[in-house]
Amino acid sequence: MKSPVAAFVAFVIGAIVLVGYFIPAAPLQAIRTPILDWAIVLAGFAGLVAILNLIFGVHIKRIREKTPRQGFSWLVVISFFVVFIAGVILGPTNPNVQNVVTYIQFPIEASLMAVLAITLAYASLKFLQRQRNWMGIVFFVATLFFLVVNSGILSFSSNIPVLRTLVSAAHQLPVGGARGILLGIALGSLATGIRILIGADRPYNN
């Protein structure tokens, strides 16, 4: 059963933070700032709880149940405990602990980004097979068009007044489209925020 007390507390806290955003009065800020600080601390604890669930609830469970992919779970669990214990004993600013991030995590993520570039290039080649409608064709033609416009091939146009204006207008087109999409997203965000504030959405109170 959903508790009305939790919904009331959420409404009051949400209203204080919202009013404090619009009205920078000192007494409101004195309440709002600690509330936001508590939220940051709580989010940090939630992160720790979620990581413990990932290790014990997901990977150690897979190892215990001897699932086919338990090798990856062993790797995750061992890596987690090595880095965690090293971080606790040596401190997170220790150069050796930092090296784990600099020489292991960053290179792996960079190589994943490189693979992503190839994956997306391949996916875009298959794009027209999947989206055989007029929007798909527009998207494909627009992609090619803006690749050409932004490649610098048309840099000679700066000497030709009419072409310069056309290229400049072409550069503005994606900005206009992006603003249109962002306005829709802003309205959706506003409505979602208000639904949570008035208690119509309660992900915190199940």
């Binding site: 955003y21 990932l54 959706g188 008035i198």
Partner: protein, 251 residues
């Protein structure tokens, strides 16, 4: 923030709240039942859910990497609401839905939502702690962890809804290659363009916020869609007037 901006902000927030409350009233809804345009991807999602329940295949919902302390958290809340609704709708399936997320607080809330849905549908004895998991804490480690779930042969429906970066292309591409149903929505422009090119059923712009309303989650969700439509017309009118005033030289 200036006085004018602050006042405008207040007015927009209050107008939106009033519109949502009025459109949620039973008497108003009885007189003016909400009618929305069809979104093909969401209609296909409903069919895919029905098939997944019938065939006993798995459903995976990826909630993105939005922290609840950032402005992008609203997309995460939409994802959580969608997760709740999907967990209710697929309660009779042999395979309970699985959710992955890229932020600790979002993962904890997703567990709460899954437990609540399991209690509501009397399936709590089937709930497992790995049904709602944090798959990674950096954008790429999150995607790497979620790929593990997408590539599970039992998963035949992948719903990507929340805040993603372009790296989410890995998830949508893998899902399509596994012949799974893929619906993808994000509040990020880069992720939307990647989804448009790689996912079978992408949602663009504010369609992300329409998902719970179209899945009949609650009257407030449908009324907030009606409120958004009215506000959108307001913005169009203001923009046209602004453009005209600029042409005339008043501003």
């Amino acid at each position: 923030m200036g006085n004018l901006e602050s006042t405008l902000g207040w007015i927009i927030v209050l107008v939106t709240a009033v519109l949502i409350l009025v459109f949620s009233l039973k008497s108003y809804r009885a007189k003016h039942p909400p009618v929305f345009r069809g979104i093909e991807a969401i209609q296909k999602l409903k069919r895919a859910l029905g098939l997944a329940v019938e065939q006993g295949t798995g459903i995976h919902i990826s909630l993105g990497k939005a922290s609840l302390l950032q402005p992008s958290s609203t997309s995460a809340f939409v994802g959580l609401t969608t997760l709740h609704r999907l967990a209710q709708m697929s309660a009779t399936s042999d395979q309970p839905p699985v959710s992955t997320s890229g932020d600790g607080s979002l993962a904890v809330l997703s567990q709460d939502v899954m437990i609540a849905a399991a209690r509501e549908t009397n399936t709590f004895q089937m709930y497992q702690p790995d049904q709602a998991q944090l798959s990674g804490v950096t954008p790429l480690s999150y995607i790497a962890g979620a790929l593990n779930v997408v590539n599970d042969p039992k998963i035949k429906t992948n719903i990507l809804i929340g805040n993603f970066g372009p790296e989410a292309g890995f998830l949508s591409t893998a899902s399509e290659e596994n012949d799974a149903f893929t619906i993808a929505a994000s509040d990020s422009l880069s992720a939307q363009s990647v989804f448009y090119a790689t996912a079978g059923n992408p949602l663009i712009g504010e369609e992300l916020y329409a998902v719970p309303g179209y899945l009949q989650y609650s009257p407030a969700h449908q009324s907030s869609l009606q409120a958004q439509d009215i506000l959108r017309w307001g913005i169009v009118v203001v923009m046209v007037i602004g453009a005209l005033l600029k042409v005339v030289g008043v501003i």
